[in-house]
Amino acid sequence: MPILVNRSSRVLYQGVGGEEGVFDLQQCLAYGTNVVGIVDSNYDGKQVLGVPIFSTVCEAKKKARPNVSLVRVESPFAADAILEAEDSGIECIISQSCNLPKHDMVEVERVFEKNKRSRLLGPSSFGVITPEQAKVGKMPGYIFSPGPIGMISSADTLSYEAAWQMTRSGVGQSTCLGIGNEGGASFIDLLSLFEKDSRTEGVLLLALEEDEGIDEVISWAKKGRHKPLFFYIAGREKPFKKSDIVMIEDVSKIGEIVNNVKR
């Protein structure tokens, strides 16, 4: 089973936005994603591209039963939208919205930690894609292909580069997750999902040097047996302590390196 999103995921859009947003929605629909509803007060019609509009997440939850939500409202409203989705019990909430006020995030993290019923990816996530099943987010679909590598990344274009290199080298992806760098689920939280996923044979992690949670990954990997891990950390100049993680230094060779390691 792919993790977090798959063919049967029912996706809610919280905020479509203008022209660019409609284009992104259209891309998701064209990819085959099952978008079941939209909550966006800027649209007063009944639907956008055939997707019904609801006035609140609560109403959408009752009538369309979404289990994944993509938050893409402007940053002043993002924490509120995330909390609204959490309050309705949506299991997986992906925030493409970015630059959230830090005090807002403190409250978001507190609520998620207290209720423990939803998972938050982002803020500043590029989305989640399970190739040929569902694409929830702004990433271009054609660069991904189905296969055995899971990906967790805090950066968007860098992830596209990596996915495209893998696809061109003939190694596909199980699921690719954008986690941003403003909070929400950490590398470790999501690594354990891939660890349990039978389709995933190895995991590629992409981070920026200043990201939180890099050291936790290194010590997590030391604790016991795990699937092969590949790690590229942009901006890292000092060498790594010894570990069994494959540290990628040349970003132009991600595809080859991932493809060549025996799984």
Binding site: Q27, S75, P76, N99, L100, P101, K102, H103, M105, V106, E109, R110, E113, M139, P140, I143, S153, S154, A155, D156, T157, L158, S159, Y160, E161, W164, Q165, G183, L206, L208, E209, E212, Y232, A234, G235, R236, E237, E249, D250, V251, S252, K253
Partner: protein, 347 residues
């Protein structure tokens, strides 16, 4: 964003936190300064507009203060600001700071200021921490804090001030607030003597008034790179610099552009002007965005120039091959390719 200290005083005063009297000097005028200043001992806090660097001088007389002020304004061509805070003798000095810790929320740290460094006090377990939930400290937390700090006199009044400091921290979207020291004067007055506050830039939309006063932290520019780097997205920019470094060259501060033509042309212009940059490396992964649009914009820019620095351009995304063909034809000083590996070899 950080605020000038006297602005932080003003914000804290709005919440009823006592702050010291001060003189703010923006230009040197000996006569009016002599008539306007009155103090014996004081702290002079000199701040240059450009940059965050702050010097603190302790002076024992007005004359000594004036000499420093005169020198500051004479030697700094850029505008400067001198804050004179007359010394207050504190019976005891305390340290208090609030900050946001990811996952753990907001935390208050306090200790008795005994002259040791914070890390030394930490080692001796004399930094006291309280988590702040629901935007306030519970009364029991304040009582506990006061007891740990050994405050026995005026507990109610000092407790109230701590409560107000916490309220101000949340109200103004601060990410960091440090009061070092705060203390009680001999006549029993509590005062926040030296303050530092950082405001969250992401909260600009609800702190408009503060952002008119705030100063941007100077951007850290690493100059001296010989390869000018541009890429879309922060992660890819950093990765592009890594590649340049691996090839034995030195990257410039990367220009991170968005999916829009204007920012790409502006970035190009900046790198072309930047001293020390010998070659420009553009690495764009555009996805669904049509690379031909970018190629056309670069072409227009090149045509508008008599000469420009050599460029290595790597484009990947919709119509990348066609876009590269268009760029290659443009000049022998331009290498264009869809392959990242090939691009790096050309640097």
């Amino acid at each position: 964003m950080y605020l000038p200290e006297h602005q932080v005083y003003a914000l804290l005063r709005r919440f009823g936190v006592p702050t010291p009297a001060y003189h703010l000097i923006k230009q040197f005028d000996k006569e009016s300064l002599l008539s306007g200043l009155s103090f014996e001992r004081a702290f002079l806090k000199v701040r240059l507009y450009e940059g965050e660097e702050r010097e603190v001088h302790e002076v024992a007389s007005r004359e000594e203060a004036l000499a420093i002020v005169e020198q500051v304004f004479a030697t700094n061509p850029s505008p400067a600001e001198v804050l004179i805070v007359p010394a207050i003798s504190l019976e005891k000095r305390y340290y208090l700071a609030l900050s946001i810790l990811k996952k753990r929320g907001v935390e208050l740290v306090a200790s008795v200021d005994d002259g040791l460094s914070l890390s030394e006090r930490e080692k001796e377990h004399r930094l006291f921490r309280e988590g702040v939930e629901s935007r306030r400290l519970h009364p029991f937390q304040i009582r506990r804090l006061l007891s740990r700090l050994g405050i026995t006199k005026d507990r109610e009044r000092i407790g109230k001030s701590i409560e107000r400091i916490v309220a101000a921290f949340f109200y103004f979207d601060a990410t960091f607030l440090e009061i070092a020291p705060f203390g009680c004067t001999e006549d029993g007055n509590f005062v926040a003597l030296s303050v530092h506050m950082e405001i969250d830039e992401n909260a600009r939309f609800r702190q408009k008034e503060i952002f008119r006063l705030a100063r941007k932290r100077p951007e850290e520019m690493v100059l001296g790179g010989n390869i000018g780097c541009m890429a879309n997205g922060n992660g890819l920019s950093r990765a592009t610099c890594d590649l340049v470094r691996r090839s034995g060259k030195v990257p410039s501060s990367p220009v991170s552009v968005e999916r829009n033509i204007e920012s790409i042309v502006q970035g190009l212009e900046r790198l072309d002007q930047e001293a020390g940059v010998e070659k420009i490396f553009i690495n764009l992964f555009t996805g669904l965005f049509d690379c031909k649009t970018i190629a056309t914009a670069i072409k227009k820019w090149v045509k508008s120039k008599k000469a420009h620095k050599p460029m290595v351009i790597r484009l990947e995304g919709t119509s990348a091959t066609k876009a590269c063909a268009l760029l290659k034809k443009l000049s022998k000083d331009i290498v264009a390719t869809t392959s990242l590996k090939e691009a790096v070899e050309e640097l």
